[in-house]
């Protein structure tokens, strides 16, 4: 019979960290309450039985709920489990123990793990585990999911506990106990079992906050930090990218071209200028992606995101959003899809939808690739990083504009903002390694999947009929571009570029691959061609359009799933296309008129 344990606890107690530690899985971890918003399960060997461990979104209580809490609650109340592994933050028992007492009413077997043993020790918090365990009638383990202490003992305890509870059971219809009753129990329990020393001096977190949350310095520092992170990614990533590009080029001229020289001309063109150049040019971004996501992991795990929410809330609230929407915007820098799902923590439906409508404008890592390529190709090395930065600023501006215009109902249906401000933490190397491994795996799978498909299709469009010159007006692509010319020529986007944009609709990662195929050149060669054919106004107009024009397919699909209908998906599509065209048009025509 299959066995199942659910991992339950308040947000940000380290459930996903423990889940990863126990099962070796790669769940996303971050110092932000509400990072996990859906169920995740993995297998784990306990004694001689295989057990399914399910990581749930955090849960504040069994009363009110946002969408992520509903997911957790629904699972606990309807799915048979062998038991609940309840994880609490050992430093915050005074508020988290109440959840244990509420959960007890469900009549499920429970095992309690008190996490963050390291932080509890450094704050001088002492817990009488035996007494607490006796009083609660539950087995308890003290662990540090992040550093691993106490985890072997926890495994042992889980094995024994599972032997005592061999059959999955479903939660009983809940007898809601009086909360005041629970509070009373908690208070007397705590007095007997937990010793918290009086706070003597300001902690490291307090000292850092005095600077980073300073009333006037806070926001400028935020910008500075962003700029710094960004410079690090740029400074570390681009040389690596150049190196990889050079390597791929050598490989092409030295090995692959000679090896396939016996094939017919069209096949050589397909393999070299189609697949190899297309995929190769996309692949050169792998180092940047790795560095970028490592930087994201550091920011996410530091606890600074919650500070950003604090700093930005005043501004965001004027647009019907709140500080959390701003944080999701930042998370969207990686990929818009998880950021959009993260909006589940917002309980007001109107506000949640408004937040989701703004997320597609967050400059995700796929768009970053396009912009990196264009800025380095067309702008001077000194100007390039600033051009890139300006695109981030514009992405925020469009978010604000969108929220401002669409805020409508969200303005009257305001969700309370109430969240934990966790202490600053440093990510461990293993978290960083895991995060970048997961993201590069994702990137490689995409490159191996639909990017190949897209690139092959672009090659076909630009080379068929075979007797026409590649990408000339006589080819399929040429004809297609001809039809679209009235739309794109007022934006200064030439016909070949518009073909690439068409493919970028599926996913922005394809754009650079498509360009490589269209111009029949990869890497540096392609940069050279772009540099010759585009002046900076055209390049910038193209980038503006790419930034805004449409969410990729997976983002649209997510929007549809999360809102439960296609209405907002279409609204988002039409709105972003319209805004993109307007912005590029205004920019291009103004710049040309001024020149």
């Amino acid at each position: 019979m299959s066995k199942r344990i659910a991992l339950v606890g308040m947000p940000n107690t380290g459930k996903s960290t423990l889940f990863n530690r126990l099962t070796g899985a790669g769940a996303r971890v971050g110092n932000w309450p509400g990072l996990t918003v859906e169920l995740l399960s993995a297998k784990l060997l306990l004694g001689d039985s295989m057990v399914e461990l399910v990581d749930l979104p955090g849960l504040h209580n069994l009363h009110g709920f946002s969408e992520d809490e509903r997911v957790a609650r629904h699972f606990i109340e309807t799915q048979p489990v062998n038991g609940l592994l309840v994880l609490l933050n050992a430093t915050q028992l005074e508020r988290q123990l109440a959840l244990v007492l509420q959960l007890k009413a469900l009549g499920l077997p429970m095992l309690l793990a008190l996490n963050m043993a390291d932080e509890a020790a450094s704050r001088g918090i002492r817990i009488q585990i035996e007494t607490l365990s006796e009083q609660l009638g539950l087995p308890i383990c003290l662990v540090s999911a992040k550093h691993g202490q106490g985890v072997p003992e926890l495994r042992q305890a889980l094995t024994t506990w599972l032997r005592d509870n061999p059959n999955p059971v479903t939660a009983q219809a809940r007898v809601l106990r009086e909360d005041d009753d629970i509070e009373h129990n908690v208070d007397s329990l705590l007095a007997r079992t937990v010793h918290v020393p009086p706070v003597l001096s300001a902690s490291r977190t307090d000292r850092l906050d005095r600077i980073l949350l300073h009333p006037w310095l806070g926001l400028p520092l935020f910008l500075l930090i962003m700029l710094l992170v960004f410079q690090i990614v740029y400074g570390l990533g681009t040389p690596l990218q150049d190196g990889l590009g050079w390597l791929l080029d050598e490989l092409k001229t030295g090995w692959i071209a000679p090896a396939i020289s016996g094939l017919p001309a069209w096949a050589i063109s397909f393999l070299l200028e189609g697949l190899y150049d297309g995929i190769g040019t996309v692949m050169t971004f792998l180092p940047i992606i790795v560095v970028f996501f490592m930087a994201m992991a550091v920011v996410e795990d530091s606890g600074y995101l919650a500070r950003a929410a604090f700093l930005m809330d005043a501004l965001m609230s004027r647009m019907g959003l709140d500080g959390r929407a701003f944080v999701l915007q930042l998370m969207g820098f990686g990929c818009n899809v998880p950021a959009m799902m993260g909006a589940r923590v917002i309980r007001s439906r109107a506000q949640r939808i408004l937040t989701m409508m703004t997320i597609p404008f967050s400059l995700c890592s796929a768009r970053l690739q396009v912009f990196l390529f264009f800025t380095t190709a067309v702008f001077s090395p000194l100007a390039a990083p600033w051009v890139l930065f300006s695109l981030y600023v514009i992405s925020f501006a469009i978010t604000f504009l969108t929220a401002w215009i669409w805020r409508g109902r969200a303005r009257h249906n305001i969700d309370p903002l109430l969240m934990e401000l966790p202490p600053y933490r440093l990510p461990t190397l293993s978290v960083l390694a895991r995060q970048s491994l997961r993201e590069s795996g994702h990137f490689l799978r995409q490159a191996g999947g639909f990017i190949i498909l897209g690139v092959a299709l672009v090659w076909f469009l630009t080379h068929f009929p075979l007797d026409a010159a590649p990408a000339s007006p006589a080819t399929l692509a040429g004809r297609l571009a001809g039809w679209m010319a009235p739309i794109f020529s007022p934006l200064g986007i030439d016909q070949l570029l518009s073909i690439a944009l068409l493919f970028g609709f599926v996913a922005k990662e394809v754009v650079i691959g498509a360009l490589a195929v269209i111009y029949g050149a990869g890497g540096d060669e392609l940069s050279g061609i772009l540099n010759q054919r585009l002046d900076w106004v055209q390049a910038y107009s193209f980038m503006l359009f790419t930034l805004v024009y449409t969410p990729c397919l997976s983002t649209l699909a997510t929007l549809r799933r999360e809102t439960g209908g296609s209405r907002y998906m279409w609204a988002s599509l039409v709105w972003s296309l319209g805004v993109a065209w307007m912005i590029s048009f205004v920019f291009y025509q103004t710049a040309r008129a001024l020149q």
């Binding site: 209580n61 005074e94 006037w216 919650a306 309370p416 109430l418 934990e420």
Partner: protein, 93 residues
């Protein structure tokens, strides 16, 4: 008649005790889960400019709460006089 202040008006650096919560059941439960409940001592850590949220500390937990939501929480000062302590009229801005 004791004089209470709304938490949203308490200056940074002050300690106070939660005396009344006027939020609906859902929000009250959420506040409780984060450590904001009747009788708890909380410290106001800082207030962000432009009428932004405030940061309060309850036990070992730091919380950020919007000023409008903090307005639903009525508090009295921590120390002198214990349960009967009240704010002076002038202290609630």
């Amino acid at each position: 008649m004791t004089h209470l202040c709304s938490l949203s008006t308490v200056p940074a650096g002050r300690c106070c005790v939660i005396a009344r919560i006027d939020a609906d059941a859902d929000l009250t439960a959420r506040m409780r889960a984060l450590g904001l409940q009747l009788g708890r001592r909380v410290h106001v850590m800082r207030r962000s400019p432009f009428k932004g949220p405030i940061q309060v500390r309850s036990g070992q937990t730091d919380i950020i709460i919007r000023r409008s939501d903090a307005g639903l929480i009525q508090v009295r000062p921590c120390d002198p006089g214990g349960d009967t302590a009240v704010f002076k009229e002038s202290e609630c801005a």
